[in-house]
């Protein structure tokens, strides 16, 4: 029963993601495509965060820094390319195949530094330290006056791919969905590999895993970096989607949103966070249309999710958490 239900829900979700542009056209609401696109982008970040939150039990309260950095890498390169000012001798480029990997490498480097320092601690210190590093990135972004400072940067146009026209909303949307599916499949492989099993063993009983001869640090650091790359990818896509980056992308509240999405969807399920992203973004949209004071509803909802929603949407549908 559950496995058929599970398949049905996955198929339904996939169908919705693929059919969203068609639905938007039929109903004549261009907003629906934008909504679906935001969901797809946030879902990539949520799946990535779930990798360390759900499987590694590393509560990172600073993942927005990778979202912000990924976005700013795209924004800054576009700024220099557009203005014709070389940066460090490089003329800049508009090609996604050059800019995007560059942005992801930047995220991986930042994650290596932050992870190395933060993983010296655990528990509540880890939460506070990841938050503090994200705040540091936030302030650095605010202080970048030549890149707009507080106001952020506008991008002239999206990055370009060969044969694929990213400036068409529908095409861009399908690229985001394809990346979401590909990234989720990759994360699923990671989770079920030996590496992923060790990561989960460390979550279940660190002491036992250590006594079996596992050194926790390299496993956790690697997971942290993979997770940061995925979140950075979401930031890259967001910069291209909105054609605008601002320090708000790295704000602490963004990190909080990511956590909320993962918990809402179901910790340690990978597919759950995608559902979480859909519910969260749609709820945000509906509430903000309904009243400008929508936070007064959203806040208590998050509190209630924390108090009662132990297993999230995926947990309710599919039973126990994976792993």
């Amino acid at each position: 029963m559950t496995s058929r239900l599970r398949l049905a829900v996955i198929a339904g979700g996939l169908l919705f993601l693929l059919a969203a542009p068609y639905l938007a056209q039929v109903t004549g609401s261009a907003g629906l495509l934008g909504l679906a696109n935001r969901i797809a982008i946030y879902a990539i970040a949520a799946v990535s965060l779930d990798l360390i939150l759900g499987y590694g039990a590393l509560v990172s309260f600073g993942h927005a820094m990778f979202f912000g950095l990924g976005g700013y890498a795209v924004g800054i390169v576009a700024f220099h390319t557009g203005a014709g000012e070389p940066m460090l001798g490089w003329q800049g480029s508009n090609a996604a195949l050059i800019v995007w990997p560059l942005a992801l490498v930047a995220c991986a480097l930042l994650a290596a530094i932050v992870g190395t320092l933060s993983l010296k601690t655990s528990g509540v210190q880890f939460i506070m330290i990841t938050l503090a590093f994200a705040q540091m990135v936030f302030f650095v972004l605010v202080s970048l006056q030549s890149y707009g400072g507080d106001d952020g940067l506008l991008l002239d146009r999206r990055n370009t791919l060969p044969f694929i026209d990213l400036s068409r909303p529908t095409t861009f949307y399908y690229v985001c969905v394809a990346l979401l599916i590909g990234w989720t499949a990759f994360c699923a492989r990671v989770v079920n590999s030996r590496f992923g099993l060790v990561l989960q063993a460390l979550r279940q009983s660190e002491r036992r895993a250590i006594n079996l001869g596992v050194d926790p640090f390299p496993f956790r650091l690697t997971a942290f970096i993979i997770s940061a790359i995925g979140t950075g990818l979401a930031g890259v896509l967001w910069a291209n989607y909105a054609r605008f980056v601002s320090p708000d992308m790295a704000a602490w509240s963004k990190s909080g949103e990511f956590i909320a999405i993962v918990v809402l969807g179901g910790l340690g399920t990978l597919l759950g966070p995608i559902a979480g992203a859909a519910v969260f973004i749609a709820l945000e949209q509906i509430l903000s249309i309904w009243t400008e004071h929508w936070m007064i509803v959203m806040g208590p909802i998050l509190t209630l999710v924390a108090l009662f929603g132990r297993r999230g949407i995926a947990g309710r549908l599919f039973g126990e958490r994976n792993g």
Partner: protein, 304 residues
């Protein structure tokens, strides 16, 4: 030299404020094992309560009372309504639940008090400045802030080390089940500590209100700095909170004064300005990173 003394005093004043916030937060964590993001919201509630009490009565003392009572009561309410259900849960859920409360509090405060930030003047008896050194007149309000911080530090030390409640607090931090088994109503103790932490936030709020802007979101900014203080000082220890607060206050204030100057010596002006601004805001996080490298548990961690 005068600049150095003045900046050091500013650091002391900022440290005092951070201590008022960090001591409550670290006690709450040390005793109940709860990470409470709402702590910054208590500070904001305190500042708003004080501003409106002063606006309607004109008396700063009433403002202090309003801040203490407002923030303390709100803290008790938060503990009873939400946090008490989270004591045995994972930190992740504590973060999420209290994050929701922040969003709620920010929106509720802006609906009740309006979007326009209230203004609060420095009370008459703290206006003006005192000559501390030849050529250095220091604002009395800031002196008052430093004195308040010192008094609270002494008061907390006495409370924790020399009273029955303090004994229970220490015992609760060591082994809550044993305290419970000995017939102490640990639930009431928890609520009390939460209220005390909230009241200290309120005190910080009312003292900061005339110096800094009162606005929605003021709590989060200071909350994150408070986290840095606690990580630097050592989670769960009031002494650590004091050392951490002073250190962070000093680094921040001296960094603001000297980092741009130092950079200008070696770099062209425009680069120095950009880099300086970034480094100034990042300085306390760098401090935290260095402390973590040397002592992962903070400078003065709680025992056990």
């Amino acid at each position: 030299m005068i600049l150095f003394v003045e900046q050091a005093l500013n650091g002391l004043q900022y440290g005092s404020m951070l201590f008022l916030l960090a001591s409550g937060l670290t006690l709450i964590f040390g005793i109940m094992g709860v990470i409470n993001l709402t702590h910054g919201a208590f500070y904001m509630v305190g500042a708003y309560s004080a501003a409106f009490a002063v606006l309607s009565t004109g008396s700063f003392l009433v403002g202090i009372a309003a801040a203490l009572i407002g923030a303390g009561l709100y803290a008790v309410l938060v503990e009873v309504a939400v946090v008490q259900w989270l004591y045995r849960r994972d930190h992740l859920y504590q973060v999420l639940a209290t994050l929701g409360l922040i969003l709620f509090t920010n929106e509720a405060v802006s609906m009740i008090f309006g979007r326009r930030p209230p203004l609060m003047d420095i009370p008459p008896f703290l206006q003006g400045s005192v000559p501390l050194l030849p050529g250095l007149d220091y604002p009395l309000m800031r002196v008052g802030f430093i004195v308040t911080g010192a008094l609270v530090a002494i008061g907390l030390w006495a409370l924790v080390n020399h009273t029955r409640v303090g004994m229970l607090i220490r015992a609760g931090a060591d082994d809550r089940e044993m305290v419970d088994a000995l017939g102490v109503d640990i639930r009431r103790l928890y609520t009390l500590v939460f209220g005390l932490g909230g009241a200290l936030c309120g005190l910080a709020g009312v003292m900061a209100a005339p110096l800094l802007a009162i606005e929605i979101g003021m709590g989060e900014r200071v909350l994150i700095t408070t986290f840095v203080v606690i990580v630097v000082g050592g989670v769960g220890s009031v002494r650590g909170a004091l050392v951490g607060a002073l250190l962070v206050g000093m680094v921040d204030s001296l960094g603001r004064a000297y980092i741009p100057q130092l950079l200008q010596l070696s770099l062209p002006a425009s680069t120095a300005d950009t880099l300086g601004a970034g480094l100034v805001s990042a300085s306390i996080y760098l401090l935290m990173a260095i402390v973590l490298l040397v002592r992962p548990n903070g400078l003065l961690p709680a025992r056990g």
